[in-house]
């Protein structure tokens, strides 16, 4: 029977050879999906997630190659390693999907999100909001005597932190784009 022992890590089909495929711990992964920009393709990708019960934490999409009609969909999802592998495999086999990259698993990546944050208030609150905005490098893109709209980009965590700080200072509304990401390096 001894020859039936296969080296651990040598048989996983994906890039995650070092993880235990049987781990039950949920991880957050950012996937970049390059698709043919044709009618219904987004519905197809989203339908896969809803139909198979996968999570979507955020999603962005835009055409990135106008001549080749390719769009890039960036999806932040959560799941055990086995589920993440499944999601990748399910995405990869879709006919209009050209490529799937797991930005979380394939080495370092840059991930950014843009947010517009409306804060209303007077007096000290207003001054404090401006001061914090400066620390977070948020720009004022609209202001009235009683409100600001800040624009900021950063990781989702940074935006979360900023929104948390604005809450007691009069946070009214927040609009977020969801994450866009690229692998670092050439």
């Amino acid at each position: 029977m001894s020859a039936l022992n296969i080296k651990k890590g040598s048989t996983s089909h994906s890039a995650y050879d070092l993880r235990s495929a049987l781990s039950e711990v949920e991880e957050s992964h950012t996937l970049a999906v390059i698709v043919e920009n044709e009618p219904g393709v987004l519905a197809r990708v989203i339908g896969l997630f809803s139909g198979r019960g996968y999570n979507i934490d955020s999603l962005t999409v835009a055409e990135v190659d106008h001549t080749g009609h390719r769009s890039r969909i960036t999806i932040v999802t959560r799941g055990t390693p086995a589920v993440i592998d499944q999601i990748e495999a399910q995405l990869s086999r879709m006919v209009p999907v050209h490529a799937v990259q797991d930005l979380t698993a394939e080495g370092p990546s840059v991930q950014r999100e843009l947010a517009l944050v409306k804060v209303a208030g007077r007096g000290d609150h207003r001054i404090e909001a401006l001061r914090l905005a400066e620390i977070f490098r948020a720009n004022v893109v609209d202001s009235t005597l009683e409100s600001f709209v800040f624009e900021m980009t950063g990781t989702p965590e940074k935006i979360d932190a900023f929104a948390e700080l604005m809450r007691p200072l009069g946070l009214v509304e927040i609009a977020r784009t969801g994450v866009a990401g690229l692998k670092r390096g050439a």
Partner: protein, 581 residues
């Protein structure tokens, strides 16, 4: 040289270019231009069905029995929605079919026009790919792409939705060889390193088993040929799922029978106790695995599948091999032979001894009767009386389906058409017509349950009109038998709505359709009745009155592991979780 033509003519031209000989369809307003073209040519035969669900199942039967894609043509709105069950069925069982639907004109889309439905929206989750064609110039190319996608990689159903104005308008025809068949080129060669790992495991395994599925059939006849060579040379036992029956002959010496919920005792126990499981073109469906946690706990598992998403979806495997079964088996044989065709003979000998002990249990034994026809007996007689003939079997869904899988032997692939993944009652009758259209001279029998059969019985009209001499062998237990069985075993014998009340007189029904009706309820007359059915040159509805309360065993109740199998209707053993090994 490109040629100008209308969209409707392009449809016919594209089908011809794709080698299509027959289309199963039903007309309506949104496909009239295409029907007008069908009328004006003779190359493609049109089989007029009685319900669009029937058209899709016929296309499936055609595809499954020939290995070529089946084609269905239906109108917009209700025509398209009626096709949904068949599309889902084909998706679950990986059957290549191309469904063409009419659509309201492009300028009406979105206005809730008459017979408008969001067909690509409705069918997106039940097709491998679908397209709405809004420009006649793209129509021919899209149809060529549709055939490419349906038949490459893991096969499946595709749909092309064609608005009526696109059918009327004129554009250049794009011939098949000029069509951009997309980037869709799934990998078919297995990774040789992975195959080397498998070969090494095969050399040392003491208790190996081949677990094969529909993927072997889909890969084509050569895959079955290679599988037979591999089994013969290794002397490993082989089992198969419902979908894979016939890839390895039932008369073959290494055959241990079908596995799964109603699979054979020896097959399931071999799966449970093996040390090397070689899955070829199967997908660890829940009817196969039972309780996942306890599935074949001591084995190393290899999995050959053309669809990477099938691998590690349900069961984590040690050696995943993504590729086409034919190509992978060629490489497995090549490597294994090159290394000296080694196996652990001592281990194998005691493994076979163990399997023979399990076989000795004779799990398909049933209590015979001289007064009523046992369904198992009916199938044994059907098997005996059709032995040696090139016979195609379709089934409906229920107990009769499982008994057919247990009691009929399949010697070749593409001879067994059944709804596996979706379990669609109403599949068998139309599928049998699709098979018969593809093989006009062959013997085609639909083993049916009376309840399933009623679901698409209107298609007898199609069988009559197109002279498809299909034999409808109905095991009539006047029950939704499989439902009744579960109610008996799992719901305290409360038979909620599992009777087939107010059944038609099947013999009179046959007369009404203009075909032959036979009824038999006496085991002594059964052989003569079956021979009468086989001898009749035309469609037959055979009302075989069988024992009403027979249960189908063995049975692994859902959620139980393979070694908790029921061999008889012992409800007490059942509730206490009958551990048999």
């Amino acid at each position: 040289m490109t040629k100008q033509m209308t969209g409707a003519r392009m449809v016919i031209q594209a089908l011809k270019d794709q080698g299509v000989e027959v289309v199963f369809g039903y007309p309506g307003g949104a496909v009239l231009p295409i029907y007008d073209e069908i009328f004006q040519q003779n190359d493609i035969r049109h089989v007029l069905v009685r319900h669009e669900q029937g058209a899709v199942h016929m296309a499936e039967g055609y595809a499954r029995s020939t290995g070529k894609p089946g084609v269905a043509l239906v109108t917009s709105g209700p025509g398209a929605t009626n096709a949904v069950t068949g599309l889902t069925d084909a998706l679950m069982d990986s059957i290549p079919i191309v469904v063409l639907t009419g659509q309201v004109p492009t300028f009406m889309i979105g206005t809730d026009g008459f017979q408008e439905a969001d067909t690509v929206g409705i069918t997106r989750p039940c097709t491998k790919m679908n397209w709405l064609v809004k420009d006649t110039a793209k129509l021919a190319e899209t149809i060529h792409q549709a055939f490419h996608v349906a038949t490459h990689g893991r096969p499946g159903p595709v749909l092309v939705d064609i608005p009526k104005d696109v059918q009327f308008a004129t554009a250049d025809y794009v011939p098949a060889e000029k069509a951009r068949v997309t980037h869709y080129q799934p990998r078919t060669e297995g990774d040789p390193d992975r195959i080397a790992q498998l070969v090494e495991l095969m050399e040392h395994a003491e208790r190996p088993i081949f677990y094969t599925g529909g993927g072997v059939v889909n890969s084509g006849p050569r895959a079955s040929q290679l599988l037979r060579e591999l089994v013969a040379e290794t002397n490993f036992p082989i089992t198969s799922t419902l979908m894979g029956l016939g890839s390895y002959p039932a008369s073959g010496k290494n055959w241990v029978g079908m596995l799964g919920m109603h699979g054979l005792y020896e097959a399931n126990l071999a799966m449970h106790g093996c040390d090397l499981m070689i899955n070829i073109g199967a997908r660890f469906d829940d009817r196969i695995t039972g309780r996942v946690k306890d599935f074949s706990p001591k084995s190393k598992k290899a999995h050959v599948d053309i669809d990477p998403s099938s691998i590690n979806k349900v069961i984590h495997v040690d050696v995943p091999i993504v590729g086409d079964v034919t190509k992978v088996l060629e490489e497995v044989l090549r490597q294994w032979r090159a290394r000296g065709s080694k196996t652990d003979q001592r281990g194998l000998a005691s493994w076979w001894k163990q399997i023979d002990d399990w076989r000795a249990v004779k799990c398909l034994t049933y209590k015979p009767s001289t007064t009523t026809i046992k369904p198992q007996y009916a199938l044994e007689r059907l098997e005996a009386l059709t032995k040696g003939r090139d016979r195609y079997i379709t089934t409906e869904v229920g107990q009769h389906q499982m008994w057919a899988a247990q009691f009929l032997g399949f010697e070749d692939p593409n001879r067994w058409m059944t709804s596996g993944g979706l379990g669609t009652m109403g599949y068998g009758l139309p599928a049998s017509i699709g098979v018969q259209v593809a093989h006009p001279e062959a013997l085609v029998i639909n083993v049916a349950g009376e309840a399933s059969w009623l679901m698409n019985m209107q298609e007898m009209g199609t069988a009559m009109q197109f002279r498809a001499p299909v034999k409808q062998f109905i095991l009539n237990n006047e029950r939704l038998g499989m439902v009744r069985q579960w109610q008996e075993l799992l719901h305290g014998e409360r038979y909620s709505s599992s009777w087939s009340e107010s059944l038609p007189d099947f013999v009179k029904l046959a007369e009404a359709f203009g075909c032959k009706g036979i009824q038999c309820s006496d085991p002594k007359h059964l052989d003569d009745a079956i021979l009468e059915m086989l001898d009749y040159d035309g469609p037959v509805i055979f009302d075989c009155r069988v024992e009403k309360h027979e249960n189908c065993f063995p049975m692994i109740p859902s959620g139980k592991p393979h070694n908790e199998m029921l061999l008889s209707a012992d409800a007490e053993a059942f509730r206490s979780g009958a551990v048999l090994v």
